[in-house]
């Protein structure tokens, strides 16, 4: 038996932390919880939980099959809860999907034109590369939670007042 128990969170079992204010404003810490956010989100809604200028971390509820997405830069996804399949297609003409220099993920209209790159089955704690120039989509049979590292884009959703301590 392990002498230690490591605690992870999940959509069904999380306990948001706390802020004790001494001389400050809780809003300054933009304190949220990715499981809390994903538990209230629409499937694959990209809710920004951390933003540093143009860069973001988005909390995403994985449920069912997503649209196809692509970006003009690398992105990364980490599964925080559940099991998620990632499908990848090498785009024949990536600049037609995401114009060079475009920040953030864009939605691919219809089926992506390109060669199949493969599939990845992710569980809790697994991280995958979503490479520049590839289209990707997610599939999750049960609701799960992911975080995505990328750049603020047209699909990024900000609702700080709803998700943060005030």
């Amino acid at each position: 038996m392990s002498a230690y128990t490591t605690r992870f969170g999940s959509l069904r079992n999380f306990q948001k932390g706390e802020i004790e204010i001494i001389s400050d404003n809780p809003k300054n810490f933009a304190f949220s919880n990715v499981f809390d956010v994903a538990s209230k989100s629409a499937p694959y809604e990209k809710v920004v939980v951390a933003r540093n200028l143009q860069y973001v971390i988005e909390a995403i509820r994985a449920e069912g099959t997503s649209a196809w997405y692509a970006a003009d830069h690398d992105e990364f996804v980490i599964v925080m809860d559940g099991a998620v399949e990632v499908e990848l297609v090498k785009l024949d003409n990536p600049a037609e999907v995401a114009l060079p220099g475009t920040n953030g993920a864009v939605m691919v209209r219809g089926e992506p034109a390109g060669k199949r790159m493969g599939r990845i089955l992710l569980g809790r704690g697994h991280q995958a590369l979503l490479p520049k120039g590839a289209a990707y989509r997610f599939r999750a049979e049960q609701p799960g939670c992911m975080i995505q590292q990328g750049i603020f884009g047209a699909l990024s959703v900000e609702k700080w007042a709803d998700i943060c301590y005030r």
């Binding site: 810490f29 933009a30 750049i151 700080w160």
Partner: protein, 333 residues
């Protein structure tokens, strides 16, 4: 002054440790304590600051390993460094209102190589055999104390783990395994060691890629020492494993974000300029919080935990925040 100009003494006949000089700062240690001394600008008289040697060595180890990091590295409420990126400002009392208002504080700026060389020499001389400044106290015990007893160069010369894109990709940082010298840490034996199932079509083996980040972190042999595990332009995911106390108080020169991956950390947040307490944050799995650009913070983790530190490595940021061109709090709502 070049990096070869380390000013030091012969070993003490009483303790076996050398003393060191950097500008007007002198550094010495004995069986239990480190003494930092400097002439007070107001009077020229010697001012002395004392720290427990283990706390000093843990702090200096991070300062060296992180290349003086982003902004301030406060060893405690008195002594520390500010990274000026190419130069390092070493200070005593400069961000402590009592010292500063009584003109007892000293700040001196040096080229980075001489500070790095001096700090590495101090670490080399003062770290005894069996003491690992990166390890949790339960792991490394009390080998730090007493008279000089050998070295632990294997521990203090570790390179910070970084990647160009993501560990596991061809030509990028390796993953951690038993065979590569990274067994599962005692506090993470219950963390799943499974791997994602990767089914790459021929020719796409280096783009269809995934790894178990939690497994990777469960095998970290250091505490409070972020590695880099994904790079999106200047956006760096820098996860780390934390146990006991962050040995320094990090004073931000830019906004930084934390995402708690496992277990719990409590953060003391203070004013960067004065050290006055501002808030206490308790972060649990899934919690996300920003550290504004005008604070210093120190974490406490009672059980080894996994923390995602998220940095923006844009080199222009310190000037932009210092000039007021960027808001110190990144989110307004």
């Amino acid at each position: 002054m070049n990096a070869n100009t380390i000013i030091t003494t012969a070993p003490s006949k009483l303790t076996g440790y050398c003393e060191f000089q950097l500008g007007n700062f002198s550094f010495s240690r004995d069986e239990y304590f480190v003494y930092v001394r400097w002439p007070a600008p107001a009077t020229g008289t010697q001012t002395t600051h004392v720290m427990s040697a283990d706390a000093f060595l843990r702090a200096m180890m991070r300062d060296v390993a992180w290349g003086f990091f982003y902004g301030q590295v406060n060893f405690d409420a008195v002594f520390g460094t500010t990274n000026l990126y190419g130069q390092v400002e070493v200070y005593a009392g400069a961000f402590n209102p009592a010292y500063a208002s009584n003109k007892l504080a000293l700040k001196e700026t040096f080229d980075t190589p001489i500070v790095m060389a001096t700090f590495k020499a101090i670490l080399d001389d003062w770290t005894n055999k069996g003491f690992d400044p990166f390890a949790a106290p339960e792991e490394t015990g009390t080998a730090w104390l007493g008279q000089k007893n050998g070295h632990n160069r294997e521990a203090i010369d570790r390179a910070r783990a970084t990647c160009r894109r993501m560990p596991g990709l061809k030509g990028d940082a390796p993953l951690r395994t038993d065979d590569s010298g990274y067994p599962v840490n005692r506090a993470f034996r219950d963390v799943s060691q499974d791997e994602p199932v990767v089914m790459a079509e021929p020719g796409f083996e280096n783009e269809v890629s995934a790894f178990n980040l939690f497994k990777f972190l469960s095998r970290s042999d250091v505490t409070w020492n972020p590695s880099i595990t994904s790079v999106c332009k200047e956006s760096l995911f820098c996860p780390t494993t934390e146990e006991y106390i962050l040995p320094i108080k990090h004073g931000n020169d830019r906004v930084e974000w934390f995402l708690q991956l496992s277990d719990e950390i409590t953060w003391d947040v203070e004013s960067k300029e004065t050290g006055m307490p501002r808030a206490k944050l308790t972060m649990r799995p899934g919690d996300v919080a920003c550290m504004p650009a005008d604070i210093r913070h120190q974490g406490f983790s009672h059980k080894r935990s996994m923390l995602l530190v998220w940095e923006n490595a844009n080199p222009e940021l310190p000037k932009l925040y210092a000039s007021g061109k960027l808001p110190i709090n990144p989110i307004a709502f």
